[in-house]
Each structure stands twice: as C-alpha cells, then as structure tokens.
Amino acid sequence: MLTIDAKGIYYRDLNNKVREAVAKGEKEIFLKNINGQYYIGDGLRGDVKITIEGVPGNDLAAFMDGPTIIIKNNAQDNIANTMNSGKVIVHGDAGDVLGYGMRGGKLHIRGNVGYRVGIHMKGYKKQNPIIIAGGKAGDFFGEYMAGGVLILLGLDGDNKRPLVGDYLGTGMHGGVIFIRGDVDKKGCGAEVGITDLNEEDKKFLKEHLEDYCKDFNLKTEDIMKSGFKKLTPASLRPYGNLYAY
C-alpha cells in the first residue's frame, strides 16, 4: 500500500502522483490530510483502491473507469461526473450534482446529498449506474434521468427538512428511483409515475441494499422494514408531441 501525505499539495501534483502510482501497478493507495483537492480519481482506470482521509474537493471520480474510492469524511460536489465504472463510498454527507451523466458504477453515500443528484444518469447494455444515499436529498433529484438507479433511504434524519426536495424526476425518461417513505406527486415532475414495489422490485432493491449495508455496517432488514415507493418515467418520449412537423 502506498501512502501519500496530501498536506499542502496542489491537486495537479497530487493527481499526477496517483496516476503515476496506478500506472506502476499500485493496487492500494492511502491519501491522508486531503483538504479540498479537486479531481481525485478523474479519468482514472484500473482496479486500484483509494482510501481518503479528509474532505476531498469537487469532481471526485469524474470520468472514472474502474477504481474504488473510499472517503471516510464528507465529500463535495460533482462526484462521479460521467463515471463509467467503479465505486465511490462516502461515509459522511455529499454535495450537489452527484453522478451527472453517470453511465456505470456505484456511488454509496451514508449521509445527506444536495441538489440535482443523479441528473441525466443513463444505463447502457450491462452498465447500470447506482446511487444510494442514506439521508435526505435536495431539489431536482433524478432530473432528466435516462437510466440507472437512484435510491434514497432517509435513514436517520430529523423532521426539519423533507425527505426529498421539489421537482423530483423532472424530465425523467428512463431509469428508476426508489424512495423509502411517501412521495407527494405534487413535488414530482409531470413525467413521473409513482407505484408500490412488486416482488421483483423488492428482490432488486434488497440485492443493492445488501452491498450498501456492507459498506456502512448497517442491517438490510432494518432498512427494508419501511415501505418504498418506486418512481419510473410515464413515457420514454416525454416530449414526443411538442413539435409541429
């Protein structure tokens, strides 16, 4: 295992060190004293595992293809931007615009997430991106969603803010959102249909939650006790009648 002390290191130099280490075949990297450095794991490939101590900066794991990144604290915005494969585990909260255009891999967040999470996520063949957030989420959750899976658990939040913000799934035309709790149709985009889970959904959900629970030492049964709602697009062509030809 390679340990890099990131104290006072500019992001470009830090990411260069990481890239060089991965190119040399390093399988495990420990980054300590991280303090807001951008672009960690950006465009990185391979099966390396990177553990981060401290709060990393924006665009973590952007365009990433393969590696696993574990963040022991909070994380910031734009994680997993257009990520292709791999896994990011955040033990704290994470910020806005997570998983923009994400095509594959997993993003597991223990705490709350910000606004515009899962925008334009998309699936492709076997690739099926998954974001699971343990806490609450802001507005525009799953906006323009074209594929993949968004799961929001609302585990240990207070009642001061709603489970999920407004404009939920606005413009959604693919993929699926699972929300643990009730969903108000009024807060959703017009393109969203809300249903209860069938047995197949429950099996699917359980499978993904087991992996999530393993990352955070939680019990799947406890989470599965409460009811979920499933949100899917009402149409694959939400704007089919918009134009005059």
Partner: protein, 503 residues
C-alpha cells in the same frame, strides 16, 4: 382528419409527354411525394420540400419543381411564413421545427466588407510561384518564449508548449453528430479531414467505431447529455470540446426523438434503443465561469493535459464578456457560432430570432481579449454562415484563427439547403438514418468532392493573401486594417473596427 389549410410551398410537376414511367422519382424521393398510379406517377405536392433529388435523377428532365403561385395575398407585414406557421400551429399545437441556418433577410455584414489589395506602391505576390503559408495551430500560445543552450551549443526552446491542433489550412468541419447526420455523411467528412490535414468534430453523438481510424483528425465533443463520453472517447481525438451552445439555437438543448435512435446510434451514444436522446439546455454542472473552469480542468485531468480544450458557445449579446470568462476559465480554444449557423433541428422561432451575427461577435471577442491582454491564451474559431473563402478571409481578418464549415460541407454531398433536416427523410442520404437513403451517399465519392471544395477555397485564400501582398494567413489574422466597410453605419464600423471604403 381534414386537409391541412397550410398551402403547399412547392408544386412538383411531371411533363406527361417526357415521362417514360421509369419510376426513378418514386424511388428517389425521401418524402414520398411520388407514388405509382397504375399508368402514371401520382404527385402529393404537399410533401415536396424542393430538395431537387427527383429533378437530378429524372433521366428525361421531365420534372419541374415550382414555387407555388397560389400563396396568400401579397402582404408586406403578414408574410407567407407567418400565415403558414399559424395555420400549422393551429392544426397541431406544436412548435414548428426547421433545419439549417436562418433564411430571413437579416443584414449579412460579410457582404458589406471588402478586402484590400496591393497596387503599385507595394508588390502583390503570386501564390502559384511563391510559397504561401496557410498552416494554423489552434491552442494556447505562451505569452513569452524562453530559450536555453543545448549540449550541442544550439539554442533550444525551454518553454513548454501547451497542446495544439495542427491544421494545414484555417478550416475545420463544424460539429455534426451521428444522429443528426448519417454515418456515411460523417465518414465523408472524416475522410476529407484526414486527407486535408484538418479536423472534424463528432458533435454530441459519440464516436462511432468506423470513425475511430480517423481519430487524429477528430475533435470529440462533451455536451449536456454526455452521450458516448467515457475515458476512451475523451482520449480518442486531438482535442475535447465542451458544447455550451449552438448559433441556430442559443440557450436551448437538443432533442433527438426516440424513433430516430436505432441500434447503431444508441450504441454510439451509449444509450438504450428507442429512448429520446435529450441534451438539456444547460449543462447542469455549469452555472458560472467557475463551474466551467471546473469542467475544463476535469477534462484536462482526464486527458492528462495532452489535449486542448475548446468551449463552443453561441454568439449572444454579451459574447465578449463571456468569451473573456471562458479564456480565463482555462479554455485553449473559443468556438463562436453566429446566429446564422446551421442546425439539424431547431424551433423556427428560436433559430430566426435569438443571438447575434458572427461578424459582430468575432470583432467584439477579439477586441476584448486584446484589451485584456489574453488574446494569446486561446484561439478563436468562427462559425455560422461561412459561405465562401471570402467570408473565411473576412472572418480571419476580423480576428478569427480559423473558421468552421458545416452547411457548405453538406452542400458538397448533394444538400440543397432545403431546411428539412429535422424530418429524417433527406433524399440525399445526409440527414437521415433510413438505410435505403443513407446508402446513396458513398463516402469515397463525396469525400473527394469535399476535398475539392477545401482545396479550391485554399487556393482562393492564397490568391487573396497574394493580392494583399502577404505570404501567410498569420499576417491577415486580426488585420482589420485590410478591410473596408461599404454601406455600414458608423456605429457598426466602430464595432467591427473597420474603416469605411474611401478612408
């Protein structure tokens, strides 16, 4: 279903005496204007768009396509298009779409600019007999160069040069995605780009495996839908372009309807077959110049700082300030698309009424970047209505480093600018995915025509440079002193930084 009250634009006619009933017109029309009536060809003229495919493929010259004389009563205020669009909207409730650049008679400043020439007091140059340099490098240029002495005692460049795109001539092909145009059309452009030593641009449609062999002549685009974007894609081409906007539809997104997404396009865009490919209007991770900087550097990190990053915007009112922000955000190239720029599909109302012309935009951006002392930090690509080498020369004299060609490249493939690209019925096999239509466009044949065009324009550019008495395109770049305006008011001349003819 009642008959539409929007009168047909064109009347397709077949001379019954000349017609030999070969049915070639029926085969060739992508819009199904013609059908076989047992003993003669039947015509549904409502469907005609005057693309002239049938006219060219009729062996007997029996077909004529006329503008419909039965249009609405002449009215300078209520024009044909206004009345027709209202009728179409009344019947459908939809937004009328269109293709290509605006056809409205807005002033075209290129047609009010004239280029200088040498007479008596300074010699002109004959490009046929003297070397003439058109080579152009796109990318960030260092503010100063440092040299040191190598072990052999010779001077060598110490400054590390930022990555550049090398062009043999100051032309590139404008972004046109696989989806908006056919794969054969894209291949035609790629083959021509490779042969010419210039570049094409994927648009936001991913990079098809058949275009990969041309990757050293390709700019890959990243836009709000992130279609086909993965680390392979980002590193495939010679540069990465962030698309913010398009001249024909500034501020609005793209929308490739699901029925136009067959397997091959879905594969290239990396999305499921049959779903809409929606490119949201904004990139939702970019709400500021700071956010743009974040994406620019995310792309530079993902490509290990080996590729220039371009940012494409539509020319809008504050284009100079925006371009300055883009350059300060770290872009190596600013691509400006004027409002006359083409499109595969855009709402008519957006195309015809939003944005500003490219001529004003180039001058304003070049001025601003010079005033701020950052003109060297990025190259400028001008696009949106470049119809000839003269337009290109004028754009370069106003301050562009290179110009992008979209419509003119398509015209070499048979396009007649009928503007119906959005229907997906292009009879010339360009803006369609129907296999029986795309097969008509043989990339080998049409790449040669496109190469011919660019060679011809390059020769013309050299002749212009020769007449100006300079021997490199570099000497014309930003040289507005070599332009004069005719019929332009003083404020426009001031914006363009050009003197009136006679001064």
């Amino acid at each position: 279903m009642f008959k539409s009250l929007a009168v047909p634009e064109f009347l397709a006619k077949i001379d019954p005496v000349k017609c030999i009933r070969c049915k070639r017109c029926i085969q060739n029309c992508g819009w199904s204007v013609y059908s076989w009536g047992g003993d003669k060809v039947l015509i549904d003229t409502f469907k005609c768009v005057k693309c002239l495919r049938c006219y060219h493929y009729c062996p007997e010259e029996a077909i004529t396509i006329e503008d419909n004389p039965v249009i609405y009563r002449n009215n300078a205020n209520w024009g044909y298009n206004h009345i027709r669009n209202i009728k179409r909207q009344a019947e459908t409730g939809g937004i009328p779409l269109t293709g290509m650049g605006s056809d409205l008679p807005y002033p075209i400043l290129f047609d009010h600019l004239l280029i200088d020439a040498c007479q008596v007091t300074n010699p002109s140059i004959d490009p046929l007999r003297e070397p003439m340099e058109l080579r152009t490098y796109l990318g960030k240029k260092p503010a100063r160069l440092e040299f040191d002495k190598g072990p052999d005692g010779k001077l060598r460049l110490k400054t590390k040069m930022p990555p550049q795109i090398k062009l043999e001539m100051p032309f590139i092909f404008a972004p046109m995605s696989y989806g908006s145009i056919s794969l054969n059309a894209q291949k035609t452009i790629a083959m021509a780009a490779k042969e010419l030593g210039i570049v094409m641009n994927t648009g936001e449609g991913g990079l098809h495996e058949e275009i990969y062999p041309y990757r050293s002549n390709v700019i890959v685009q990243v836009a709000s839908g992130r279609f086909g974007v993965n680390p392979d894609y980002l590193n495939a081409g010679v540069a990465v372009e962030i698309k913010i906007g398009q001249g024909a539809k500034p501020g609005i997104g793209g929308h490739l309807p699901g029925e136009k997404i067959p397997l091959d396009i879905a594969k290239t865009r990396m999305i499921p077959v049959g779903t809409d490919a929606l490119s949201p209007a904004p990139q939702h991770d970019i709400y500021s110049i700071e956010d743009l900087r974040q994406l620019i550097y995310a792309l530079k990190e993902a490509t290990n700082y080996t590729k220039p990053v371009s940012v494409k915007i539509a020319a809008v009112h504050n284009v100079a300030a925006i371009a300055s922000g883009i350059v300060r955000a770290g872009a190596d190239i600013v691509y400006i698309d004027g409002f006359r720029g083409g499109t595969g599909a855009a709402p008519v109302i957006i195309r015809d009424h939003l944005g500003i012309p490219i001529e004003h935009a180039i001058a304003a951006v070049d001025d601003r970047l010079r005033q701020e002392g950052i003109r060297n930090e990025a190259s400028i690509i001008a696009a949106g209505g470049i119809r000839s080498s003269a337009d290109a020369a004028k754009a370069i004299a106003l301050g562009a480093d290179a110009v992008a060609l979209g419509t003119s490249a398509l015209i070499t493939m048979g396009c007649t600018v009928c503007g119906k690209c959005y229907t997906g019925n292009c009879s010339w096999g360009i803006t369609t995915q129907r296999p029986e239509l795309t097969v008509r466009l043989d990339p080998e044949v049409y790449a040669e025509r496109l190469i011919n065009l660019i060679h011809a324009w390059s020769h013309e550019l050299k002749e212009i440079l020769g007449a100006l008495g300079v021997n490199a395109i570099e000497s014309l770049r930003g040289s507005r002193e070599r332009l004069r305006g005719v019929g332009l008011d003083s404020q426009t001349l001031d914006i363009l930084g050009v003197k009136p003819a006679g001064r």
